[in-house]
């Protein structure tokens, strides 16, 4: 499959005198985490299929600084941010799409104060727009009649009030949507945010991802749909905790669109 992916870099585009419409911000998880890399490729397949004119920063991309900011290291965050802004502004980037809600939130909300002003969308928002424009035809395919529940990423949902874009995509898959009791505004965190992904949890009686996965599994879903590489890790671990990985898949909305349409 990989030979089909067309992934130009901003540097290449600039050399050719082109300015792509979107910068695809891949993010650290999307670049390095084996599971998240599959999501990255799924997003690229969709962008390629819909003929979206995009490019990536490639080796010029660096962490947005989100984990540093949430952990309280404002110095490190701002150094990362200013470095990235210098690169982004150098390429005169206007629109950014990203597969990571943490990158999305940081780029959209926290970069403007440091001189980085971009129109930032989450990949589910862009996919939904492409569906609306008829640039992707979405059909149920393998998900027809399957039961799907969507886990809201905190940094897409509560943090930025984006609840419907991923759901509207899933509805198009002809699947049976089931909502967990704690959804949308009252969705429960997967446990990864606020730099928790990178440290052991404090002493408690239960892991947060186990609590959340338990809630999802109670619906007997075929798929737990996610929109964040970190939620994906946490929910996948949760499903493994309950030994359900054979019957329940944890998939990013982008992967589902690709699978359903055999892109």
């Amino acid at each position: 499959m990989s030979e089909q992916l067309v992934v130009p870099t901003m540097a290449e585009c600039m050399a050719k005198g082109e300015s792509p419409e979107y910068l695809f911000w891949v993010g650290c998880a999307g670049s390095f985490d084996d599971r998240a890399k599959k999501i990255t490729k799924a997003i690229v397949k969709i962008l390629n299929y819909a003929k979206v004119n995009f490019a990536v920063l490639g080796t010029e991309e660096s962490c947005t600084g989100d984990p540093a900011k949430r952990a309280g290291n404002e110095f490190l965050f701002q150094m990362q941010a200013m470095g990235n802004i210098a690169v982004l502004n150098g390429y005169e980037v206007k629109k950014i799409v990203t597969g990571c809600p943490h990158c999305y939130n940081t780029l959209k909300n926290e970069y403007p104060a440091l001189g980085g002003n971009y129109q930032v969308v989450h990949h589910t928002q862009l996919i939904q727009e492409l569906i609306d424009l008829g640039r992707i035809k979405i059909e149920g395919g393998s998900f027809k009649g399957k039961k799907i529940t969507f886990h809201d990423p905190c940094y897409l949902g509560r943090a930025n009030d984006v609840y419907e874009a991923p759901r509207e995509i899933l509805v198009n898959l002809d699947a049976e949507m089931a909502e967990m009791a704690r959804n949308r505004e009252s969705g429960l965190c997967c446990g990864a945010g606020g730099a928790q992904m990178f440290k052991e949890a404090e002493k408690g009686t239960k892991e947060i991802n186990v609590e959340r996965t338990e809630e999802a599994l109670a619906l007997n879903p075929d798929v737990i749909a996610v929109g964040c590489p970190f939620c994906n890790t946490m929910m996948t671990d949760g499903v493994k905790h309950f030994n359900k990985e054979e019957s329940v898949k944890v998939l990013d909305v982008a992967e589902m669109v690709v699978q359903a349409n055999n892109l």
């Binding site: 990989s2 080796t59 440290k199 002493k203 609590e211």
Partner: protein, 442 residues
């Protein structure tokens, strides 16, 4: 005549004590750092109307929302009756509004009485939820001691107030129906005919002597007004302050996306100076000691301190906190309660030292809130979303993390490794930046 003097003295004393205490609270809140929340006032009025006046966010949990609504509406409407009590108290009249308002008066008091009965049962329900049913968020360890007593005292005070209202109206009903009321002197002998006390009055006080009825009516009348002033003065010491502060607190809500953390300007200046040698940072104000993040309450903003006084300890934040749900030490409600406790302590310290804070060797961080609580937060914003009066516990947690990381260099070891990786390879893991596009060909 004597009663008029006593009444006026009560009003003056009650108002004066409240004013003194309210000014102290105001002074304490303004110990916080500056923050501009004056923008976009039309949006702010809208939020205040919906969230504080309209109780919008309460209704995510319908049962307590309706119970609370009875108390709230009842509280507001009863203020109308209070106007009459004031007038009667000062002039020495009796039910001064009745002759001029006529049938509307009967309707209004009857309406208040119906609400008072609903409130009575709502209060009983609230007491049971706390003390018998032990609803988890109302019986948690956050509330051991004074907070639990405070909550129960408020509910008992409400029941007492309602009892006074029905003593006053019930006894007066009987007096009126017998043509014995105070109002006889002003030529009014028609019965009152209120919805509840019209029935309750004769049942409870029907057989009593005129003298006893007058005493009961007066106990009710004086009890009512004394309770009102007692309650007003209790507010400043209690979680019940939310009945007033909910309004300014929602007005000054954060209007930005919840995921957006504040930008530390002082850090921006340093980072800019580091990255660009030609950049000269603006001169720092020598009067404000430079500190990154928050160690004590005075490092927080006035809005965060207003949040602390506004918190009514309902615990919706804590009951939706993923860390708390899974048994971690963190409780967003406790973050707010600790902030207020420490602020009150700082205020008392200032009072005792002629308005100057004398170092007591204590701080919000460490003595009130531990690092373990702060590091358990996932920054998911559930607490912020849940709060019915738009309190933001997360912003305090983040400020204190900033202090731990930037001033104490005391981040958890794993996070220090993350920081090092980010500095060296631009990713939280040990992968080289040069490998960032490898996924393309894998």
């Amino acid at each position: 005549m004597i009663s008029t003097i006593v009444f006026i003295l009560l009003v003056i004393a009650g108002t004066a004590f409240f004013t003194i205490n309210a000014l102290k609270v105001k002074r304490n809140i303004y110990l916080g750092k500056d923050l501009d929340r004056k923008d976009n006032s039309s949006e702010r009025w809208k939020i205040m109307t919906l969230v504080a006046l309209g109780q919008k966010k309460m209704f995510s949990r319908p049962i307590p929302a309706f119970l609370h609504l009875f108390l709230y509406v009842s509280f507001i409407i009863t203020q109308i009756e209070l106007i009459e009590i004031f007038a009667d108290g000062v002039i020495g009249s009796h039910r001064i509004l009745r002759p001029s308002l006529g049938g509307f008066y009967t309707f209004m008091i009857s309406f208040i009485e119906v609400l008072s009965v609903l409130t009575f049962f709502a209060t009983i329900a609230f007491l049971s939820r706390r003390n018998l049913l032990k609803v988890p968020r109302l019986a948690s360890r956050d509330l051991i001691g004074w907070p639990k007593l405070d909550a129960n005292l408020i509910l008992f005070a409400e029941i007492t107030l309602i009892c006074f209202i029905f003593m006053m109206n019930g006894a007066d009903e009987v007096l009126y129906s017998q043509g014995l009321s105070h109002a006889e002197k002003i030529g009014d002998t028609t019965s009152l005919g209120f919805s509840i006390s019209g029935i309750l009055g004769p049942i409870l006080f029907g057989g009593l002597s005129e003298h006893a009825l007058h005493i009961i009516e007066r106990i009710g009348w004086w009890g009512h007004i004394v309770m009102v002033f007692g309650f007003l003065n209790y507010l400043a010491y209690s979680k019940h302050f939310h009945i007033l502060l909910a309004f300014p607190n929602t007005f000054f809500s954060n209007l930005k996306p919840k995921g957006q953390f504040t930008n530390l300007e002082s850090v921006t200046n340093e980072v800019k100076a580091m990255m660009d040698p030609s950049f000269t940072p603006p001169a720092a104000d020598p009067n404000t000691p430079m500190r990154f993040g928050a160690k004590d309450v005075t490092d927080l903003t006035w809005k965060q301190l207003l949040d602390a006084y506004t918190c009514t300890e309902c615990g919706r934040c804590t009951s939706s906190c993923p860390a708390n749900i899974t048994g971690k030490l963190l409780s967003p409600r406790k973050i707010m309660m600790s902030t207020r406790d420490r602020l009150v302590e700082v205020g008392k310290n200032m009072d005792a030292n002629k308005g100057e804070f004398k170092d007591d060797g204590k701080a919000l961080l460490g003595d009130y809130i531990t690092a373990e609580e702060l590091w358990a937060c996932t920054s998911c914003n559930a607490c912020v979303q849940e709060c019915p009066v738009n309190i933001d516990p997360l912003s305090i947690i983040v400020e204190m993390r900033r202090f731990i990381v930037m001033e104490q260099s005391a981040a958890p070891t794993e996070l220090n490794m993350v920081f090092t990786n980010m500095e060296n390879n631009g990713a939280p893991w040990q992968f080289s930046q040069a490998d960032r596009l490898n996924w393309k060909n894998e």
